[in-house]
């Protein structure tokens, strides 16, 4: 470790940017981007295979996080059982959603299906919100320190660079590595799945043209189920990772999934690569705002960073309506 300060102060007129603060914001941004990537890929996979924009992802996310918290801490099975249950059950609820609620809507107008997922979201979210209660919950393995400080498999010792007193230094929490690692594994696994497996081919086929895929013997119904299972599981994992932060799991944790919608729009609704780039753009924009806005433009109000993703989305829609990597839609009558 370097003991001297990392700080180089760069000054542009009224603005001065210390490198440590800047780097810290980059790290926070990347950590957010990892979570956004997981959620956004869920949106994209569901959208590509079923043409449904799922507004139920927030509910699946918060449900996964709650289940992980309940199993790992309340029941005391530890982190790994907790996250496994979260992945399996949020995937299962995704499957149930598709089979029970969305299958009867095949062929109905797109806007009606979108409204239906909004209904689903609020119903699940109220129940999970009540289960979470007013207190903040945590995820991990209970330790002797008690309920509030569970241990996570990646420990709690942050990596520190620069001045250890905290001024002019950079701190990387271990969960940042866990998030980036999980997001990378998920992306690589999905890319391999789509390009190398039979089911991946079936999914690509039916996202290209459902009827042609059907004629080639692809079970389009199962493809839709699979898409919802993957989408649900990804939301569940993202929920667990989001809840490992200092702020833990609360009733308003679902908001992060709504902020992933701008990510999808920025990247392009039908592109996984776009989802990653979009997640980085939105994540960095959000963390830079929360780092610098209070100092330079305080009149924009507290927590302004929470609305930045939506503002970035609007800007992108003005200049690149199909997103950065989205394909232009060609419509037939």
């Amino acid at each position: 470790m370097i003991s001297s300060s990392l700080d180089v102060v760069v000054t542009f007129g009224a603005f001065s940017i210390e490198t440590s603060r800047f780097l810290q914001a980059v790290i926070e941004g990347i950590s957010l981007a990892g979570i956004y990537t997981l959620i956004a890929i869920g949106f994209v996979i569901i959208y590509k295979s079923t043409q449904v924009l799922s507004f139920a992802q927030p509910a699946l996310l918060i449900m996964g996080a709650y289940l992980a918290s309940y199993v790992s801490i309340t029941l005391g099975f530890g982190f790994w059982v907790g996250i496994a249950v979260a992945i399996l059950l949020s995937g299962f609820v995704g499957y149930l959603t598709e089979r029970a609620v969305l299958r009867p809507m095949v062929g109905k107008p797109v806007f009606a299906v979108a409204i239906l997922t909004i209904g689903l979201d609020i119903a699940i979210r109220v129940i999970v919100g009540d289960l979470i209660g007013v207190n903040i919950r945590a995820i991990g393995t209970s330790t002797s320190e008690g309920f509030g400080a569970p241990s996570l498999p990646w420990g709690s010792t942050p990596l520190r660079f620069g001045d250890l007193a905290g001024v002019g230094g950079v701190v990387i929490q271990p969960r940042v590595f866990a998030i980036v690692f999980t997001a990378t594994v998920a992306v690589v696994a999905l890319v391999v799945f789509f390009n190398r497996t039979r089911w991946g081919l079936a999914m690509r086929g039916s996202s290209f043209d459902q009827e042609v895929a059907l004629a080639q013997g692809v079970n389009v119904g199962r493809v839709a189920s699979l898409a919802w299972i993957i989408g649900g599981s990804l939301a569940g994992v993202a929920g667990v990772l989001a809840a490992t932060s200092f702020t833990g799991l609360s009733q308003s944790s679902y908001l992060i999934a709504l902020k992933a919608l701008p990510v999808v729009v920025v990247g392009g609704l039908d592109s996984i690569g776009g989802a990653i780039v979009g997640a980085l753009i939105i994540g960095l924009a959000e963390s830079f705002t929360s780092t610098y806005q209070a100092r330079y433009v305080p009149w924009l109000g507290d927590n302004f960073s929470q609305v930045v993703p939506y503002l970035v989305m609007v800007i992108v829609l003005i200049f690149r309506p199909y997103g950065i990597f989205g394909t232009k839609e060609v419509e037939r009558i």
């Binding site: 806007f111 409204i115 209904g119 609020i122 119903a123 609305v307 993703p309 829609l317 003005i318």
Partner: protein, 389 residues
């Protein structure tokens, strides 16, 4: 349509209320609605019923607005809460007096103008906001309006929380505009021709008048050229375009009208309670309006009114039919639900929200035409009685 044969000309078919029975029943319904407060006021909790009905009438205006963009033009909008907020604050800034701080500076903006100015202004400012946002949302086909308006609700909520000179800020709020026209106060008990009229009765009648006016305007709109253009865009955007309907223009028009209705709702809604809290305009409010439209019936003006009545009266309905107990029973098996043992697992507000969701899903799958569709089926059954069709 099965009833086409009843019409002898196109003009006849496209009339606002084409058949005589329809006109008669509508007249009976309106007379009943006018007379209802005379009966309700004698009930023990009559005042709360009157206020609920008045709230439902105002909400119905917003639901009609949402139905114009979502039901008729087929564009999902999650932004109703934002436009209601814009209407509410435009009305209160124009219609209530300014509040000065101790040192003479303006603490809350206010112009103390009469209702004839603040009510249309609330609608127009909301419509203007809609027109500004429309080009971003309608550059593409599809669900972009839902995404843009979702963002709008969050940005709006942020602005309402932080613009304390307008909204008073979280936890403080401010008083809504005063309900008075030409010197007559609707929000005070009064005497007319020797009859005692309560505040609640006056608000009820006033809101009923606004609802009837706005509903007839909407009904007229949807049978016009513009209304048919909305439906054409909803049913097949590209085909509509080929027939000379400019989708962007008509979507923008539908969105502006929808926002106007939401603005009027916002202006009136808070005059009933007299107070506006800046955190009221959340996504949940938008979802309540979506529930009204879906439960009442997509693309139906009468359905929007039924849906608004249903959602606003839902807490009373839950009490009446023990729906809450039933839901508690179903949910009771989930471990950890509810805070303490012996308490019911869910509060009535939570049950209400669950019902929003469940009813949205159930109606979309089973009865996409909503309560209006159920009513049509009942009517047709009795029309042909005793034959099934």
């Amino acid at each position: 349509m099965s009833h086409l044969s009843r019409f002898t000309s196109y003009k006849h078919e496209s009339a606002i209320f084409p058949t005589t029975p329809q006109r008669v029943w509508l007249a009976i319904l309106i007379v009943a609605a006018i007379l209802l407060p005379l009966f309700l006021v004698s009930l023990v909790d009559g005042r709360s019923w009157l206020i609920l009905f008045a709230t439902a009438f105002v909400a119905a205006i917003g639901a009609i607005g949402l139905n114009i963009i979502t039901g008729f033009a087929g564009q999902v909008s999650l932004g109703q809460a934002f436009f209601i907020g814009v209407g509410a604050y435009t009305a209160t800034a124009l219609g209530s007096p300014a509040v000065l701080a101790a040192d003479g500076s303006v603490e809350l903006i206010g112009f103390d103008l009469p209702m004839v100015i603040w009510l249309p202004a609330a609608g127009l400012v909301a419509a203007l906001a809609g027109v500004i946002i429309a080009p971003i949302a309608f550059r593409l086909e599809g669900l972009y309006l839902a995404l843009v308006t979702l963002g709008l609700v969050f940005v709006g909520a942020h602005v309402f929380r932080n613009w304390t000179a307008l909204t008073g800020g979280v936890g403080r709020g401010r008083e809504a505009a005063t309900l008075s026209a030409f010197g007559y106060r609707f929000d005070l008990d009064s005497q007319v021709l020797g009859f005692n009229i309560t505040r609640e009765q006056q608000i009820y009648w006033l809101m009923l008048v606004f609802l009837v006016v706005m509903a007839i305007l909407a009904k007229n709109l949807i049978r016009s050229k513009d209304g048919r253009a909305f439906a054409a865009i909803r049913d097949r955007g590209v085909a509509a375009e080929l027939m000379g309907v400019n989708p962007t223009k008509y979507k923008t028009l539908a969105f502006a009208i929808s926002s106007f209705y939401a603005g009027i709702t916002g202006a009136l809604l808070f005059t009933i309670t007299g107070f506006i809290e800046p955190t009221s305009f959340s996504l949940l409010l938008s979802i309540a309006y979506i529930a009204m439209v879906v439960i009442g019936g997509l693309a139906s003006i009468a359905g929007s009114i039924m849906g608004a009545l249903f959602i606003i009266l839902l807490p009373k309905l839950i009490d009446l039919v023990f729906l809450g107990d039933a839901i508690d029973l179903v949910m009771g098996w989930i471990p950890g639900l509810g805070s303490e043992s012996g308490e019911p697992p869910l509060t009535s507000a939570q049950i209400e929200r669950i019902l929003f969701g469940v009813l949205i899903i159930a109606f979309l799958i089973v009865e996409p035409l909503g309560l209006y569709g159920i009513w049509i089926r009942i009517r047709n059954y009795w029309k042909a009685f005793p034959f099934s069709y």
